[in-house]
Amino acid sequence: MEKITQKQDDRLLDYLDGKLSGAEAAMLKNQLEQSGSLNQRLEELRQVHALLAKSTLVEPSKDFTQFVMNNLDKVPARASTLSPRNGFILLCGILVATGITILLLATGSFDVLGNPIQLESLKLPKEIITPSLPSVSITGKTMMKILVILNIGLAFLVLDRTVLKPYFGRKHHSQSFS
């Protein structure tokens, strides 16, 4: 059986779309009369074309316009760069990190970092330092506590943006749709 080339296939589709000129269409019809396989291919493509052409417009819910008009003042929601899945993974990561830090704090792992930082012991060029530097008392334990608090805040933020807001937003929308 004669093989149909890509060019012939394209021509058949242009024919179905009505995009061939009178002369081109006549030439194709002539080829169709002579070639059984070209005819068969046209039928296959025509079948797909007919099935696809059956697709119709779908109407949204009755209160679609009303919803839009009632919410015109809302600032359009910007798409979050975090998908719920990625947000959930990030949330788990933050919670695990926070958990480990709290555990380490509880077991006293940061107690050894409790000495004040002696800025005087730093070897800096004399011209930079005129007065004597004070000793700042920042303990590792305090820093870890601050980090834990920040982590918990971040976890709440991620939970809100990626899980709670999309969930309640969808729920509210499903109710107005049904």
Binding site: D9, D10, L13, R41, E44, L45, Q47, V48, H49, L51, L52, A53, K54, S55, T56, L57, V58, E59, P60, S61, F64, T65, F67, V68, M69, N71, L72, K74, V75, P76, A77, A79, S80, S83, P84, R85, P166, G169, R170, H173, S174, F177
Partner: protein, 194 residues
């Protein structure tokens, strides 16, 4: 729910005048534009997100965005094309954001009705077509689905998807050729199992 509602008929010139009045403060007139394009917007969004509530949300969000950016609408382009592009991008964002990788098997249960048999036979080819459609890549599938939405030209599909006209033409041609091949293969297989 198929399209049965009579759509508002307004010319491009009337549409531009309407946009001027909306921009001048008569915001209630925006409802005319929403009514005119809501089915198209919803259908485009539905083809992308494949879920009715999400498609509705995306289409509404797109209309709200379009209202906020109406000032920046370039009158040389058609309002519809500009709007469809917003709908397309919004729906793509929704799809990325709300991917559903896991589907409950129970949700996919097909209920058997004797009366449905003849309808099933009638719709067989349509079912085979959707099976074949699933085998296309997403860009090809969307190109062909948008192209077959009533009254959308290749140019409009290209502008909506933000792609080159030739690329879309190739995608639409290639998708139909693949669908024809796939449909032939499925029908052959079906004939063998009978």
């Amino acid at each position: 729910m198929e399209s049965s509602v009579k759509r508002t008929v307004i010319t491009i010139q009337e549409e531009n005048e309407l946009i001027d009045r909306i921009l001048a403060g008569e915001r209630q007139l925006y409802a005319t534009l929403v009514n005119k394009y809501k089915s198209y917007a919803f259908t485009i969004a539905l083809k992308i997100v494949e879920n009715k509530p999400e498609a509705e949300e995306a289409a509404q969000d797109a209309f709200i965005k379009a209202f906020h950016y109406l000032k920046s609408f370039n009158r040389q382009a058609k309002f519809s094309t500009w709007l469809y592009r917003i709908v397309f991008n919004t729906a793509i964002s929704y799809k990325r954001k709300n991917r559903h990788p896991f589907q409950d098997i129970e949700e996919n249960t097909v209920e058997y009705h004797e009366q449905a048999d003849s309808q099933l036979e009638k719709d067989d080819k349509q079912i085979f077509l959707s099976q074949a459609m699933d085998r296309l890549n997403e860009a090809d599938r969307l190109s062909i689905q948008l192209y077959y939405i009533k009254e959308l030209s290749l140019e409009e599909v290209a502008e909506t998807m933000g792609q080159n006209l030739n690329t879309i033409k190739v995608r639409v041609h290639r998708a139909r050729q693949r669908l024809a091949d796939e449909l032939k293969r499925i029908l052959k297989q079906e004939a063998l199992t009978l």
